[in-house]
Amino acid sequence: MDIKNTSHDSPPLEIYARQFSGKLLLRTEILLDENTFQQLLSLHLFTPVQSIKRKKFTYQCQRCGNQKRSLFATLPRTSGKKILHYCRNCIEMGRVIDSEPLYYWTGKPVKWLEHEAPCTWDGQLTAAQQRAADHIVNAVNNHQQELLIWAVCGAGKTEMLFPGMATALSAGKRICIATPRADVVRELMPRLQKAFQHVPVQGLYGGSKDRAGTAQIIIATTHQLLRYREAFDLLIIDEIDAFPFHADASLPFAANRAKAPQHTTIYLTATPRQEQRRQMVGNKLPHIFVPIRFHGHPLPVPTMKMSFSLKKELQKSEVPLALMKWLKNRKHQTRQLLIFVPTIQLADNMRDQLFVRFRKEGLIKSTNELAAVHAQDPDRTEKVQAFRKKDILIMITTTILERGVTFPSVDVVILDAGHEVFDEAALVQIAGRAGRSPDDPTGEVVFFHDGRTDAMVEAVDSIRLMNKRGGFH
């Protein structure tokens, strides 16, 4: 095909624009034969940018922003050529080498459809949700740069986004929802497609089937933003306080680059970190607080239970006495139980011990009713599914189930709540797993510990405060 003879708005160029505009790609990620690519390049439809920049004492990868010296390395020199540096930080997404530029599309930008009444969701927002939704709509209309939505666990964050998203879509804007975890992308995909039936939605995560990333609505893990540049008019970042977004500097770097020149960024969180709180207090970050769960009941307040022998028992993977005592006197014996432990090793070790003990006490009948799950568990999706279907009654878990998952009727227990992995945000999130259903809006949350930590006290205080702001006393 000869591109030179075709005019600028001919179909093939339109297709290329759709494929490549808003992206920042390596040559190997641009699936075009060398001839076509060179033609597009000579027509300045692709623009190359230096992929690794030299800084004073280090380098910077232009895809992920990495500047750490230990995360750059060199390839062996082939005869006569100069030494090649590459970035080790984002190598999982294809190797960035300083001899190979990154490319972005500088042809005609894509004109996204202006949808009339795109929202096909027929649910009703609560008053508190509506207030937040109105703020988002305003932010989108006024091209407000940033807005933080601080909504308690179980406030119904996704639904609050719909009116704002609809406004953006009817103005022909492009939307991305970025979330730290692939599980959440998978869960959101069908919900959003149902809410916006006539708008194409694509979900992107490491290993997703759909890899094109060319739809008007993109739901992606934050890592996928590394491949975008000036793409989204409305960028929604879910759980900004969660790992890895707050810990990995390359993700805010990529998110920042993925925004269109005129953009609105919505941050969602249930547990803002110190930095965001400071910005809110100093009025540097426009925000709105949604203190009430969608079912209108307060957040369950955790109780702390001291157990002097806890560390010793856990070290031997024995079932803590305090836990057994609490279990026997539990008010709702029929509720499912989530047991959080600090380490993967403990999750595995506790499983067998708990099984023997629970069986003796008659709490469970078969092995299948008790399971342990952690990040390295290959069957984790299946197990979570089984817990949801109530095939599993008691689940031992590490912090991977701390957020983003909803089970209707559970009691929550943390063993060794004083462990360093349970910071304030984690504890509030874990407590937020209880009482999610309108049919059973309460739930017990118990922190077992052998000495209170600041994080525990702050978590309880902050839950009480949120309830107070929600009008509960």
Binding site: K68, S70, L71, A73, T74, L75, P76, L84, Y86, R88, I91, E92, G94, R95, I97
Partner: protein, 226 residues
Amino acid sequence: MNCLWCDRQIIPEINWENIFMLAKPKSLCGECEGKLEYLQGSRCKKCSRLSEEAVCLDCKWWNEHAERDSIAFNYSIFNYNSFMQDMIAKWKYRGDYVLGTAFKLDLFQVFSKRFAFLKNEALLVPIPLSEERLRERGFNQAKMLAEFLPLPCEELLTRIHGEKQSKKTRTARISTNNPFKLTKTVNKSVILVDDIYTTGTTLRHAGSLLKAHGCPEVYAFTLIRG
């Protein structure tokens, strides 16, 4: 120094072993190093697979088909556990060259012990990549390993481009044609170096080519027994 795998800083522990002498700088932190699994216990003396028998079933088959067997024995260091699979994937397929240096010390030590009987009278020959693959990857992982070893290393073989070995089935691998070409003949013993021994076919193809052109004996030294 940061760990090559998890990038956490390695803080050397001071103990009686290193208090008077500088310890060798480590490239992996204790936690990551612990996830590497050495081949331990009784193994097949021919291919290094962990097995109760002196010669495993596969190698008995090779012994019966002596005309196709060209390797005296293979020695491997690590088991191909899931951590190693992740490491190899990042090193080889993603192309994180520097990760290979994590194996340097082990490779050197084991080699010096196991191949001491050759008394430096041998030549190291890395299994080559096709030119196309080399351009794509930027380095040959077998050559990188061979350069850690204390014997002269020469790239005597070239490879014709074909499908990746790791994408083929066992039978497909064993019945493939010889993909190698020899650039120079040798009259010394040769130790072939590669990253993984899986079915041993690749190494035997290289070995039979060398032997057909006058090489007296061919051994194999590999990082992993797959």
